[in-house]
Symmetry: D2
Subunit: 133 residues, 4 copies
Amino acid sequence: MEVEISESVPFYDTDCGGVVSNIAYLRYVEKARMALFSRLGMDASTMTETGIFPTVIRTEIDYRSPARLGDVIRITAHLTSVEKVRTICAYRLTVDAGAGRERTICEAVQTVALVQMPSGRPKRIPEAWSRLL
Amino acid sequence: MEVEISESVPFYDTDCGGVVSNIAYLRYVEKARMALFSRLGMDASTMTETGIFPTVIRTEIDYRSPARLGDVIRITAHLTSVEKVRTICAYRLTVDAGAGRERTICEAVQTVALVQMPSGRPKRIPEAWSRLL
Amino acid sequence: MEVEISESVPFYDTDCGGVVSNIAYLRYVEKARMALFSRLGMDASTMTETGIFPTVIRTEIDYRSPARLGDVIRITAHLTSVEKVRTICAYRLTVDAGAGRERTICEAVQTVALVQMPSGRPKRIPEAWSRLL
Amino acid sequence: MEVEISESVPFYDTDCGGVVSNIAYLRYVEKARMALFSRLGMDASTMTETGIFPTVIRTEIDYRSPARLGDVIRITAHLTSVEKVRTICAYRLTVDAGAGRERTICEAVQTVALVQMPSGRPKRIPEAWSRLL
């Protein structure tokens, strides 16, 4: 199971180096993660009702090539591992490079726990998710 | 001529008050402004090629009612005035309130100049734009 | 009563136009507002305990001159009006222009209400604040 | 050689989970990185003059414990490795936990290259930096 979204780069995601700020890519990653968890049955309104929020406990991100103002970035997300109290999500950000090819902008991996707020207690990851790898 | 985009509220646009941060709405406004200028013939790649950028010189924003995580916000933008070296854009942000009604989240007005970078010199607003009011 | 803070411009507050993003200045304004309300007896921990949060209901901001990476921006904030359920705050952002002079970056005015969360009910502005104008 | 800065958590860095957004910590990391490179002789005005910018090519961040509105976060940064065209920076974010103890909020490691803009060509890391490990 893989989700895919796309985002067009606005001014506020670029910086004075002329390219997208390293921090801004994590906004695209967050939107893809929300799309992924929505597909897993945890959309925003479910989170708000249950008080259970996917919580990032580790991020790794490799910046391969810069994106620029107006670029349309395609972000894919999928689960790569499902453990008792954490799951691992992998992301790939690309832009169309013409001629049917794509250029990789960055790749990221996040470890995510499900946390019951406001107590902050971790919840078991649903077993069913391991069948979606 | 009016453009319309929609944005779903991610975590990073909310704050610990439980609602969307007053600052985050200006990101939605910026995306709508980029869509409006794109329709006026100034998309991101044109801006980059010509070095002419729409530059906000004044913003007014009235916050009417809070939006929350996952809300789908509809943002409309249109020109309300076209002068020699500045144009005025008006924005309306709403969410679906059910039963065919909508709730206004905020309303904003921005004064925008066209600025030649890197000199910073203002450019004349194209006369044709006044026919789009 | 006036508060003053200063912020040095990081990469993430600039955009590909080479100057500070119009949105980023509102982050400096928010920090100055928090300093002002802290001086008024509402610091972050008091807000969290009481559930009463200063809530921006209108912002006006005029952009006078651009700031750049590394500029040290001085932000002053003070109350200009105290009414029953709202107060008005004015901000001035400047940078040192050498020779004892300063350059105005932007000026902003915000209307702020005190809101009891999570009910969202407005609270009376403390009368004592009107003696601080 | 280690630099240290501190940042107080504003509203815009928190999210509706009631704690600091995972993305916001990278803003504190960026400010600490700018302080570190400034100490290494590359402050913002030097970057702008030379067109050489420290560019993040990889980030790893582990979230240990949440920070909240108003928390004063201490961020330390130092170099842990200096190679031909890249250097590695390590960061630690903590808050005062009372009784002389501190609580770790997150730990991060970034691989940074020096890039000549606008060509995008990597530059040699100054050899002198290896004596600062």
